[in-house]
């Protein structure tokens, strides 16, 4: 029985809506304990959020 994960397998820097689930009101990325992601997913999330910030799709901070 494989449970379907509620998290996306690959984080995309263009998919802002899914990334915004993992950042707080100040634009900071939630910790792994709060986001519930494993280490690899957390690294992917970090990279995706940073690329989205560079493209001005997400703020660096508010």
């Amino acid at each position: 029985m494989s449970q379907k994960s509620k998290h996306p397998h690959d984080f995309d820097c263009k998919d802002i809506e899914s990334l915004q689930r993992y950042i707080n009101g100040q634009g900071r990325i939630y910790s792994a304990t709060r986001s519930g992601l494993n280490a690899r997913q957390q690294r992917q999330l970090k990279r995706a959020v940073k690329n989205a910030r560079f493209l001005a799709l997400l703020p660096y901070g508010l």
Partner: protein, 208 residues
């Protein structure tokens, strides 16, 4: 290894002023020509969207996003990026190395698009700016008027304080006059009591 080709996903941020002036297709062709000049093969180049940015970049609040998928090597990417930052409508580029191009993207290919760029944002801001200016000027005038009123009131208070001082300076004389009158009364009363005691003493001696 250096000349090995990789698949890259590229996102270009285009200046809206340039896109409005030249048209989207012309700017897209410029990007495509620049990439191909440096040896990249462009598989997909399409409009991703025109949207407001999360923060201002060089005074720009909105940008046109151009998405591309290319085959290129590292040197090509670096050279293309260098040229784009120096010339043309592109003000920010991101190249990401990918394993493969998605089929949905390949189906889109190089597309012609029409972009409707709203230009009301800056005008609204200018109006707001003007409004704030006018409000500031009004506030300044109001402050000046208040200050003038306060100064007038302060002058009036000073004048009244002077009058009060003058009155006070008159009052001590009156008080002194009162004091002297009271002292006189006391002296007369003392004299009266002395006379009474003398009379009593004389009457007592007579009776003896």
């Amino acid at each position: 290894m250096e000349n090995q080709n990789y698949i890259y996903q590229a996102m270009f941020l285009l200046d809206n002023e340039e896109v409005r002036g030249q048209g989207f297709n012309a700017t897209r062709d410029w990007v495509k020509a620049t990439l191909e000049k440096h040896g990249a093969s462009v598989d997909v180049l399409r409009l991703w969207g025109e949207r407001s940015m999360a923060y201002t970049v060089g005074g720009r609040k909105r940008a046109t996003y151009l998405l591309g998928w290319i085959h290129a090597n590292q040197e090509t990417v670096a050279a293309a990026k260098r040229e784009m930052y120096l010339l043309g409508p592109v003000f920010r580029v991101l190249f990401l190395r990918e394993d493969s191009i998605p089929e949905e993207e390949l189906a889109l290919g190089i597309q012609d698009s029409q972009v409707s760029i709203p230009d009301e944002v800056e005008e609204i801001e200018e109006e707001e700016y003007v409004d704030t200016k006018a409000e500031k000027a009004e506030a300044k005038e109001a402050d000046k008027a208040d200050k003038a009123d306060e100064a007038k009131e302060a002058d009036g208070e000073k004048a009244s304080a002077k009058d009060a001082k003058v009155e006070k300076s008159d009052q001590p004389e009156a008080a002194e006059g009162e004091k002297t009158a009271a002292a006189k009364v006391k002296e007369t009363s003392k004299e009266v009591t002395k006379e009474e005691t003398k009379e009593e003493a004389s009457s007592a001696s007579e009776s003896e």
